[in-house]
């Protein structure tokens, strides 16, 4: 329980909090547009955004580099945040996160395998001419890998009374094995793609453009529709089984739907940016701290916080060591793990 204040926040307060978050989001987006390895003045940025400036450097930088990247960061951040929120609610585990339960590494393995298989087929069967990778298939591959891993980790942990820590430990262990498997596949068979794969595996928004955004958006829209349908049951799934069943909830069905939806969010985002760790873990806790536990407010605030978190991480990754770039995933992990350890510490204090 992070919110130990005397009173739960009022709708009025929550609206204020969300308004502040929106303002902050706008601010971060503006700063992100202004800053980057190519130093552009404010007027150049404004000019570059205008359509009639097509062909100029500033227009290219804006429309091909910064704008798609910023939008993608915001959306991917939301994806991971919602995935984390759903998992924490359904598994009733404050330590849950797409990375922690192994979905991200499963999706990564599937994507890498898909890319290499694609290369192999394209090179040996079809022609010697390299065909561009079909981007739109990546989320599907990631989804399959993510679902399989989630099923494995949950299956391993369910029998043991689904203890939160054991689930997390299983997830981290499976994650480590899959990570090793990915490295193995990449190093042995990845000849031409080692560099790309390694950067992708660190979780980065480097070099993403509108085509990536185009691939992700249908999944985002479908996911949000699913999420809206799921809000009521999701709120009930946070109680123990007896209560949600006594209130007339079809437990198995909704639990399955919710986990599948979380995997959809996490895997589709992983397919585009690689695993970005711990955004899903940190965001729901942050949102709960800000707006309490009403699922509707919690969802909305989580969306804002997720976007904000990844935008800031990407901005820092891009500017801290400019012109070289830190992958956003490494930064979120560096921030996320201390939070995870703090939660684990509280859990330890609570149980013993």
């Amino acid at each position: 329980m992070l919110a130990s204040s005397a009173l739960a926040p009022q709708p009025q307060q929550i609206r204020t909090v969300n308004a502040c978050l929106l303002l902050l989001l706008a601010g971060v987006i503006i700063v992100s547009l202004l800053m980057g390895s190519a130093s552009l003045s404010v007027s150049e940025v404004v000019q570059g955004l205008r359509a009639e400036q097509a062909g100029t450097v500033s227009h290219d930088v804006m429309w091909h580099l910064r704008l798609p990247r910023i939008l993608l960061a915001a959306i991917v951040g939301m994806h991971f945040a919602i995935a984390g929120l759903i998992l924490q609610s359904v598994i009733r585990n404050p330590l849950a996160d797409p990375g922690v339960i192994g979905v991200s590494s499963g999706a990564s393995l599937a994507v890498v395998a898909f890319l290499l298989l694609h290369d192999l087929l394209a090179n040996t069967l079809l022609s010697s001419e390299p065909t561009p990778t079909r981007l739109e298939w990546l989320p599907l591959a990631a989804l399959l890998g993510g679902l399989a891993t989630a099923a494995l980790v949950l299956g391993l942990s369910w029998g043991s009374g689904a203890s939160p820590t054991k689930l997390a430990l299983n997830g981290v262990a499976i994650g480590a094995i899959l990570h090793a498997a990915v490295m193995w596949v990449v190093v042995v068979w990845g000849a031409g793609r080692v560099e790309t794969s390694l950067i992708w595996l660190a979780g980065s928004l480097y070099g993403r453009d509108f085509s990536h955004l185009g691939v992700l958006l249908p999944w985002s829209i479908a996911g949000v529709i699913g999420l809206l349908m799921l809000l009521g049951p999701l709120s009930l799934l946070r109680f123990n089984d007896d209560i949600s069943r006594a209130l007339g909830l079809n437990l198995q069905l909704w639990r399955l739907c919710a986990i599948a939806l979380a995997v959809v969010f996490a895997a589709s985002a992983t397919a585009i940016t690689g695993p970005i760790g711990f955004v899903g873990l940190v965001t729901p806790h942050l949102a709960r701290l800000l707006t309490g536990s009403d699922i509707r407010y919690l969802t909305f605030t989580s969306l804002l916080c997720g976007a904000l978190l990844l935008l800031i991480a990407d901005l820092l990754g891009r500017t801290l060591l400019s012109p070289s770039e830190l992958p956003a995933g490494a930064l979120t992990t560096l921030v996320g793990i201390p939070v995870f350890l703090l939660l684990l510490y509280r859990q330890a204090r609570g149980t013993h």
Partner: protein, 341 residues
Amino acid sequence: MQLTHHDDTIELRSVTVLVTVCVVAMAISLIMSLRVGDFSLSLDQILQALKTPNDDTPSFVVWQLRLPRAVLGLMVGAVLGMAGAIVQSITRNPLGSPSLMGVTSGAAFAIVIGLVVFDISYGQRLSVGTVGGLSAAALTFGIAWQTRLNPVYLTLAGMSVALFFAAGISVLLIASDGEAMGLYVWLTGSLGDRTWQHVGQLAPFALLGLVMGVSFARALDLLMLDDDTATSLGVSIHRWRLLLGMTAVILTAATVSVAGPISFIGLIAPHIVRLGLRGDGLRGLGGQLPHRWLLPLSALVGASLIGIADLIAKVQDVPVGIFCVLLGGPLFVYLIGKQPC
């Protein structure tokens, strides 16, 4: 005062079988690793080169390229197996091992900081790595202390600390602007391109580990009792734990400085020993198995595991650390399943 060891329950036959299997595995991996490579050698050529070292190509390949790697691999495995057994016993934790306590990654992180920021020499890697490993262990234990070192909490905390340092390492490498990119292979745990100099560096620690293993076996046996009993028997448990824990960290840091972070060997080697010596080896903490058996056998098993793993790694030209994870991971998941929550 003589404690009853359950020596009678260890059948000499099963020890013989275990040792034979390990020796055969080591021999095969040794011979094969001398044979295969860019430059394939026949058995005759190898024997010839071993008997009469000269300036020929086969002799150079065997003595300067392949033998050091093979020997180093066996030593790393032995030291890790020993360190793992020590950690499992002092924490009474079947999931214990230096890498799962974050020690390995902590040591690697410290070494990378040293290399990137302070430009340390090769010889300083060890001490820097030890400091890093100790800090990581302190962090892990600090978090899990309140659960009386409950295995699941301890391991989860340790693995998270390890992930944290791994992320830190990748940030450092990128921040170093490419100059340290060569460390990438070292960072997945690799035995490629090692020389006798590396062997010479690790040798004292392998020896230290062996000596400690033999001389402190009794203390470890006593530490397996519960704290109150051990204390009432006059064992100053905290002092011994600290001493043995430091030893394990130093042993681990030594392997990290020569071969990079290699995970899971320290975890699974002692379990394979217990599995080999008695059917239910995986169930217990190994409290019944006297450490003067457990430690040397763990070293032996660790050495043969790395021997085999590095052989595959060499054939595929992949860092050996990857195979250690693929080899040990499934057993690790199995062991997690056996833990009470």
